[in-house]
Amino acid sequence: MEDFLVWVVWIVAALSLLTSGIAVVLFQNPFYSALALIGNLASLAVLYLLLAAEFVAAAQVLVYAGAVVVMFLFVIAYLGGRADAPWAGTPSLQSLAAIVAAAAIAVEIVVVIALKAGDELSSPAQVEDSFGSPAEIGRLFLGDHLLAFEVTSIVLLVAAVGGVILGSAVPKEKRS
């Protein structure tokens, strides 16, 4: 019974993940694209929960759907109508090449995973209930992966300073 329920949740989340992903790419209005991205990130969070990654699922909803998408929406609102990007007329050679390239990437990844890990994918490891819990993640971050934790904080600081500088610079021709 539990197996059946997990399958139902998985199929609903997977369908919503793929349709919202395609919607992000195909919407003309960037505002709708950003809103579709929220659905994409929420379905990903559901899949993370099924994979016993509770803390990552919570961080996904808070950091992405909460902070990053709101920042996108602010910039889209700031740019107004200039942000709209209608399709460039009839399907061109460029769009055909894009479809071929994306399909090639997908096939390559599938082949590589099947060749390197095909035999090991059938039997997942037994994990304890605490796997992926905030306590476990905190222990790993401040123990085995302390360097990654500290480097991450520097990356965030540099990005914040860079965002301020990029956003506040006045064009030269206007200054004189």
Binding site: L18, V25, F55, Y64, L79, A102, P171
Partner: protein, 102 residues
Amino acid sequence: MPGPGVAAYLILSVILFATGAFGVLIRRSPLIVLLALEIMLNAGNLALIAFARQTGTGAGQIFALTVMVVAAAEAVVGLGLIVAVSRRHMDLDVDKLTTLRG
């Protein structure tokens, strides 16, 4: 592990990554290119967490959280660049922003 195996999650991740790559290649608006990039990064995250569940080690989830931070930093810098471009009254079209082309 009830429900679908890790291979199902990986196939989902591959389709999502290809969708994002398609968006990056075909769209002209830098804003939607950034949104498609976020989709690609999230597809990578899904694969990382699926493998973390497969091997039973927490390192994959730590890596996914780090990728999340890098994605947030990338969004900040990318949006800053878009705002700077729009302040110079240039077209918001990645095909027309060719000043740096060699």
